[in-house]
Symmetry: C2
Subunit: 358 residues, 2 copies
Amino acid sequence: MLNTLSNPNSLRHDDGSADTPVIAPMIAIVGATGAVGVELMRCLEKRGFPVGALRLLASARSAGSTLPYGADQVQVDELRDDSFAGVDVALFSAGATISRRYAPIAVAAGAMVVDNSSAFRMQADVPLVVPEVNGATLAGHNGIVANPNCVAAIMTMALAPLHRAAPIRRVFAATYQSASGAGAAAMEELRQATAAHLEDRPFEAKVLPHPYAFNLFSHNADIDGESGYNGEELKAAAETRRILDTPDLPIGITCVRVPVLRAHSIALSVEFGRPVSPDEARDLLAAAPGVRVVDDRAANHFPMPSEASGVDDVLVGRIRTDLGDPSGHTLALFVSGDQLLKGAALNAVQILERLLGR
Amino acid sequence: MLNTLSNPNSLRHDDGSADTPVIAPMIAIVGATGAVGVELMRCLEKRGFPVGALRLLASARSAGSTLPYGADQVQVDELRDDSFAGVDVALFSAGATISRRYAPIAVAAGAMVVDNSSAFRMQADVPLVVPEVNGATLAGHNGIVANPNCVAAIMTMALAPLHRAAPIRRVFAATYQSASGAGAAAMEELRQATAAHLEDRPFEAKVLPHPYAFNLFSHNADIDGESGYNGEELKAAAETRRILDTPDLPIGITCVRVPVLRAHSIALSVEFGRPVSPDEARDLLAAAPGVRVVDDRAANHFPMPSEASGVDDVLVGRIRTDLGDPSGHTLALFVSGDQLLKGAALNAVQILERLLGR
C-alpha cells in the first residue's frame, strides 16, 4: 500500500492545478462485489490510477471474501458507520438507499464521494457529471458528485458534440438495455435462463420480473401513474437535460431490457434548430473525445454491444437524415456503449481524475 | 384428401358472397420447409381451413423429405415449372427471386398466388394486404396478392385503428426484430451461437453477418447509399404507407436484429393531426380485431416476445402521451407480434380466407 493524502480536504475544492497535494488517495469502494464495483477496480488499475490504499466495502453477506487488485487480494469489509476513517475518496455503487444513508457519513469523515446511484443526481448542489460533456460543473461540488444513469451518460456522449454545434430541439429515443444494468445477478440470471431454455428445462426467474431467455421487456422500473413513463425513462430524460444544461428539452424515451449481457444501445431521432447533414454530424462526432464513429454502410458495420463491451469509447453510427422529418432538421443515430464502463465505472473514475487534476 | 375446386378461376374475382363455388382448394406451399412454410401448414390446420389437397414444394435439396400435416405425412417435391398443375392456391414463401420466377407460372397454370416475398409488394396491380386494415383492396387483384413485410404487417395493425379515428401525421419507429425474420437457419444459428457462448466455445456465424449470442446489430439488409436507410427500413416504411393508403406519411425507422427467437417488437412515436389521449387510443385498440391491449402499468406488464410468440393477436401497450412532443399530438406505443404468424403465415392464410369468402 502506497501513500495516502497529505490533506484529504484539499480534494473538496480541487481546481485541477498542478500543485495539488494529492498523490495517492485512500479509496473506498462501496458495493465492491457488484458488477460496477468490480469494474471500478479494473478501471483504476487499467488507467494506472495512483491508489494509496483500497478499502472494499459491501454488505455483511459478502464481508470476509477477498477480491483481486493487481497482485494483491483485498479483503471485503462490512459497510458500517465507521468504515470511512482515513478514506479520501469513496466510490458508491450499492443503490440509492445505501448512498442516502452512508454518503453523508463518508463526507463527514472527510471523504469525497462519487456516487453511482440516483440518490443525489437531481440535487442542485451535487454536480451530475459526464467529464467530456460538463466537466466544468465539478467545480461546484460540496463533497458529493453524482455519476449519471447509464443511459443518460451514453446518450449525452453522442448528443453533446452535436448540440454544441447545432442546438437540439427534441429527442426521441428507444433503448436496448443489457442485463448488466440490473447488476451481476441479472447477468447471471440471463445466462442461466438461456441455458435452461436451450436444454428445455424449466427456469424460475428471481432477479428480473419476466422471462429473460431470448426475450425482451419494458424496463422494470416502477411506472409513474400520471405520465405512464417508467422510472428509468424519467431518470434518463431528466439527467440528460441536466447534463446538457437544456432544462426544457422535450425527450420521448422508451426503455427496454434486451437479452444482451453488458452494453446498452440506443436508437435516436434528434431534431436540431437547423438542418444538420450526416457528414457534418460524422465530423463532429469523430472529433469528440470518448466517441468512436462506427458507420460503415458498405460493410453494414455499425455499433453493436459485442464491440462496445469492455471498450471505453461510446460507439455512434447509422448517422442519416431522419425520414420521419421531411424538413431535414432531424438526424437518426444508433449508439452502443458499455453500461459498466462509460455508463458507470469508467465515468466515475474519469470524474475522480478530473477532481484530482490528472 | 378432400374435394378440389369446382372452378378454380372463381377464386380470381371472389367477392365474398355466400354462393362461392370454392369448397376445398388444392393448396401448394412454395418454401414448405422454411420457418414460414411450416407455420403456413400449422395455420391452415389450426384454423380448420378446408384443404382439398396439399402440395409441398421446395428446393431440390429438401425434395423427398416429408412434413406432417394432421395425421398425414406429406412428401416435399422439388419446385419446377410444372409443379402447379391442378393447384388452386399457391402460397409462396421462398424469397423474392423464386417468387418472381414461379408466381407468374403458377398464375398461368390457373392458381391464385399469395406471395410472402417482397417481389410484388409495390406493384400497383398487386394488392398488398393486411385483411383487418385494407382487406377491401383484395377485390382489385389479378391473380397475385402480396403479403407484407413482417414489420409493416405488425406495425399497421397497431397504427390503423388509431389512424381511422385521428389521421397520423408522422411516425418514428425502432424495431427489435427476432431471428425468425431471417428464417429457420437464423433461429438455429442463434441457438447454437448462444450455446457456444455459454460454454465458452468458439462459434463461426454462417447465416447472419455478425455474432448473435447476447448481441444485437443493425438489420443486415443492404444500405441505400443515398438515404443511409437499409432495405428492411425502406420496405417497412413504403409498405406501411401503402397499406394505410397514406402515400406521403413521413416514417423514420431503425431496424435492429435482437437475440430473440420469433416475435418482433416495435417502439413507436406516432404524431396525429389532433391530440389523442392514451385512454382514447386504448379504447380504439381494444376494439380492433386482431389487436390485444397489454398495458398494465401497476403490474409492469406490457407486450413481450415471449407472450406474442405463437399468438395470433398483435400485442400493444406502453400507451402514453409522448414526452418528446409537448403539444400532446404524439403517442408512444410498444408493440409485439409474432413474425411468423401475423408477420407472415397467419396473414397469408387470412388473405386466403377473405378471398374464399370465409
